[in-house]
Symmetry: C2
Subunit: 315 residues, 2 copies
């Protein structure tokens, strides 16, 4: 049995949105998967009853505390020992669940990833990634999207390998094209960081490195399936896309490409390079967003991407 | 008489597009402005004749050479002494024209800006900027957009002042809101560069510094009129916007906001921080793009933004 841990108390609209999203995910997850909800049992059962969904279809791990958005992540992770996030990570670290997803405190989720689950040996700096839609239809993976804002070239080069393994394993893209985000196509272009990382990525024989990708082709799908950049640039790219999505929607524009930009369909941000699948959802997650976050977590578990990453960095 | 120098040989479709764009600009420039065309006189006259436009309406400075896109910018600027760009910068440096615009070799335009016109005393590194449309209606100024990809915080801080003076003078925005592009609203956010630049910008009393702006608000117009970033990030933002514009257009989407994203309407990229107005157009400029590039140049001349910048850095 594959156990997907979900923080029922995470997100601005928890537990309602989190539990409703879990109900929506029930039919989409595999028959051998089971969703484990962490949180206030009475409130979880109340939402399930309201949805007409039997509580028997879930495992529930009762917790009494919640790490709030205003809490100091590291302190709260320790002090609120019976919080849904702390208990969830405890279960993840001991293997009682196989992945953990939350739309709650991003900081606390990172604390759990780094100190409970821990980085994979050999990974300099874990990363958070995001799927972006492309005009070619299939999504591209962008990483880092905000965790590491000052990246050494060696860190960026590792992101190429991490992203390649994730794209092949979880997204099912054979020999994914890996590129580094840069300001020109020529390999002599870029800032000092990008040029040095380009040289390191070219030497990485385990990936299909295709060179530089410019901003104009992040969303075209023509150049790359995996796009490596530092967290400052990646976060800006992601937020800019969200901003344009909102403007476009407000102006009445819309089509399948822009719909795919909607974070609700993206399904959370996997933390990559730690010893278990961890997926962080948007704070304002709707039930649909929670559902997709859960499905992303399931795919990470099912495809054993963590084991593949561990082997890549320990061989 | 205000003299606007235009490279008739610059751009992928020169001289046709350049000269046609100059004809389109004729009615839009002020009565006291005159457009000075640099290039192959016979070809310029042929295009003007084809347009049914009297050559008397322009000054023509005949040149016999062209700096090609494949040429080494610095070497070609020297070796092709009778090229339209080299001769144009000669006129600009001696004051025979008051601004110079070209859709030709960006590299040669930068060589001319740095070595013929020269940086303004006190400016550490000149910059290239771009107008971006906003949902609020009026454009915002983004700088740097590709010239300086490794920026010290002191350079970014100067861009805040340069951009503020440009926005107030040329765009007519009173007390423009200046922000630094960053990954969060809080002043403690960002990479080392952004945090240090934030501190310097806060101390700059001559600007209306409003703090950080996130990627989501570059195009909203809600936070800033002038957005400061390094050339790596700025170039990525600009190219990403262009890429999304093309995708949106290909998918049949379109509205006033996206139309404004079209580079043809933007009117070139001013080089700021040098001792004369220099505007660089897109290589694939259409006549409409050339027309708007010329109008941008005229606004820079008319509003005496160069003198304002010189005073700001020499006081």
């Amino acid at each position: 049995m594959l156990k997907i841990g979900v923080d029922a108390m995470g997100g601005d609209f928890a537990p309602e949105a989190a539990v409703k999203g879990a109900v929506m995910a029930l039919d989409a997850v595999g028959a051998e998967s089971r969703i484990v909800l962490f949180g206030d049992e009475a409130r979880i059962r109340a939402v399930l009853a309201g949805e007409g969904c039997s509580a028997e279809r879930f495992d529930i791990v009762p917790t009494t505390e919640v790490i709030e958005m205003g809490d100091h992540p590291a302190k709260a992770f320790q002090a609120k020992a019976d919080s849904s996030i702390t208990v969830g990570f405890g279960h993840l670290a001991k293997g009682a669940i196989h992945g953990f997803a939350s739309a709650g405190s991003t900081g606390a989720m990172m604390v759990g990833s780094m100190y409970a689950v821990k980085p994979i040996e050999g990974v300099i700096r874990p990363t958070i990634s995001s799927l972006v839609p492309t005009a070619a239809g299939r999504p591209a993976l962008l990483l880092d999207v905000g965790l590491n804002v000052d990246c050494k070239p060696e860190v960026l080069a590792q992101y190429g390998l991490i992203g390649s393994i994730f794209a092949e394993s979880v997204l099912g893209i054979a020999s994914p094209r890996v590129a580094i985000l840069n300001i020109g196509e020529e390999e002599t272009k870029g800032n000092a960081q990008a040029k040095a990382a380009h040289d390191l990525l070219r030497e990485e024989k385990r990936i299909n490195f295709v060179g530089n990708v410019e901003g104009s082709h992040i969303f075209s799908g023509k150049v790359a399936d995996v796009i490596v950049c530092d967290g400052f640039v990646g976060n800006t790219v992601l937020k800019m896309a969200e901003g344009l999505y909102r403007i476009n929607k407000a102006l009445g524009g819309g089509n399948a490409f822009w719909d795919a930009m909607n974070y609700e369909n993206v399904g959370g941000t996997p933390v990559l390079g730690v010893n278990a699948p961890v997926v962080i959802g948007h704070g304002c997650s709707s039930p649909l967003a929670i559902k997709n976050m859960i499905l992303t977590t399931e795919r990470c578990i099912r495809t054993e991407v963590t084991a593949k990453l561990q082997r890549a960095f320990n061989s």
